[in-house]
Symmetry: C2
Subunit: 228 residues, 2 copies
């Protein structure tokens, strides 16, 4: 039986852009696990009420319900050990730093470039909730958050220096082959790639080149994903 993934979707049900759901999508593909993705919108509280909380990704795996992308990755590694996502307990512990960096630095950094664009792709039923919750978080209108983004590009790109330093020494964040660390960062970058037409990275950035390699993994599920 396929694993079921409740996956954030836009007004177009084929448009999937959650940075956390994409981490899970890549992890499932890495394991070679078939998945049935169900489009979910912010207003679909009822659809995931069985999980006891209100955010995606949520998976149902043989009757077991798991939510939170990190917890899902740990679940998959335990239930389906090969091919490994973490390469052992220390690899998993160190991947948590990458996950925490992505959450603390990357998600917040990217949001300031695309949060207004998201209004153009999410379901109309989500508009009021999305605007009010995000404007409360930023303390500004979505338009004000995103304003002047061209002038902030260089500072954003500088935040990616740790990735560039890693890629000087190895082909993947996972070393000689991709690991969940690659899924974390590349999954996060699927968010601006799919939800906005604004280009965050320069084509000749080693981060772009690495991202291209991830997009081609697993039959190109990243490359072929629908974009805004």
């Amino acid at each position: 039986m396929s694993i079921v993934l409740h996956d954030l979707a836009g007004a177009d049900p084929d448009l999937r852009f959650s940075p956390y759901c994409w981490r899970t999508r890549f992890a499932l593909a890495h394991k070679g696990l078939p998945v049935e993705t169900l489009p979910w919108r912010f207003s679909d509280r009822e659809a995931i009420a069985f999980s006891g909380q209100g955010k995606v990704p949520v998976i149902r795996d043989d009757g077991k319900v798991v939510f939170d992308s990190w917890t899902i990755a740990e679940h998959l590694e335990e239930q389906y050990p090969a091919p490994t996502l973490f390469g052992g307990a220390t690899g998993r512990a160190h991947a948590l730093f990458v996950n925490s960096w992505a959450d603390a630095v990357l998600v917040g950094g990217i949001a300031r470039f695309i949060v207004r664009d998201l209004m153009d792709i999410i379901d109309p039923a989500d508009h009021a909730y999305f605007r009010s919750s995000r404007e409360a978080r930023f303390g500004q209108s979505l338009e004000a958050v995103q304003a002047g983004r061209e002038d902030r590009l260089t500072a954003f790109r500088d935040l990616l220096l740790p990735i560039r330093l890693v890629l000087r020494r190895q082909r993947w964040l996972g070393g000689a082959s991709p690991s969940y660390a690659d899924h974390i960062v590349a999954g996060t970058l699927m968010w601006p790639r799919c939800a906005s037409r604004f280009e965050l990275l320069e084509g000749n950035d080693p981060v772009s080149e690495w991202q291209g390699r991830v997009l081609d993994l697993y039959g190109g599920i990243g490359r072929s994903a629908k974009r805004a």
Copy 2:
């Protein structure tokens, strides 16, 4: 035969404060390897000329010369596999992200708080070189770089959020036990601890609490290290 480590020292030869040498000190202690540390100053070019480059840490291990803290850690893991620093190839690959983050974010961030203080502890013979090389790097006088540091403390502490997020889920950056990831970050924090009296962290910060645990490892080599 002990491993020999050329270790940056102040005018006081017992004052050791290099963020990179401390990563190596912790790694050696983790492996239980005896080490003879030789005080080195920036002006001692000749003393490490045998390594073919000009920076410490440099180790001599049974006739083999290794420099660069990351390369030294890889060397130690290969030559003395247990207890492990990385927990395997993926753990090592993921630790490189931590190392890169520490180099890109932490070292540069800390420098702006203590670089003038370093003039008070380094050997007088190093004064001219240190000032001119660092002022060229920052494009400012050392005094100007360090000015207003109290006002920048909150922004610096915010940079440590990824560490705090990790420590919510596990006791060490290495997971259930310390790994080289702990040595990287704690080694970097030995730099302000030993070289300056300026307090970067608040005592109730989870990062401080974790740092305290690292200081007590390996017979307390961190805790008992001489401070400015």
